[in-house]
Symmetry: C2
Subunit: 146 residues, 2 copies
Amino acid sequence: MNISVDFTATNVEEGIGYWLRRAQQTVLHDFSETFVPYDLRPAEFSLLMLLANHPGIKQSDAAEILGIQRANFVALVDALQQRGLAERRKPESDRRVQSLFLTRQGTDFVVETSGKWRQHESRMIARLGGIEERDQLVELLTRLAC
Amino acid sequence: MNISVDFTATNVEEGIGYWLRRAQQTVLHDFSETFVPYDLRPAEFSLLMLLANHPGIKQSDAAEILGIQRANFVALVDALQQRGLAERRKPESDRRVQSLFLTRQGTDFVVETSGKWRQHESRMIARLGGIEERDQLVELLTRLAC
DNA sequence: TATTGTTATACTCTATAACTATA
DNA sequence: TATAGTTATAGAGTATAACAATA
């Protein structure tokens, strides 16, 4: 005899997707409040941080890392470029590519704002209960993400 | 002497918000694929399930539970009503309120589709590694959500 | 006065197809 | 032919303000 028990929730309010969304609402809200003075959206800040750590990264590689389609990525780079924070350069080796860099101003901006971001991150860690819980959460989320 | 160590990540790609979003992309993608035959968005399905478990719930209460602003909730209820899956009733006790119910057809629809949703949920649980990991994840997400 | 639902509006995010220039 | 970037566009999701009906 084979008894199988179904542990899936019967209420959407207990489902994984529901809580993912509710948690993200909180995190996004805190991020937005933190960055009000800088008029910066999450994706913009993420890209600036990415360029700080990976100067010269290919535009399409950056888009893939951040999980944004390359078609939607163009306007994102445009915005940072128009604000003088990032720039595109076409390498001689492959003229199809756009290599992305922070400008001097962009580097200063990252220095100025990354502390704010870490404060934001700290508040989220505090909500979770500590570093171990953060690591646990990220580990589990990593399993979900492709 | 007071040594304090900063455990916050220095890369956005290691941050909580980043992984929340990446995980949600996967979950949403799986949900969408699962529900293609029904032309149903996550919020619509969530509301149907909510009405199945809480018949007669006040429109604004349903909106709050699902984390959707009441202004944006109107079109959601409209859509389900126009498909004949849900209906609004004004209770005599308070004529400002809309009480929400599944129609007979809506009830059948939930019966038909909730199995699909549980399969979706099962796939996400499998990705996480099991029920315990799901419970862990939901516990952590609950702490983040307000 | 306060609450509930509603309308209008604007902005962001996401997805798809098609074009261009280069390889 | 294939790849990288781009444009255009449409659909969802979200946030805010203002209004009518009712309490």
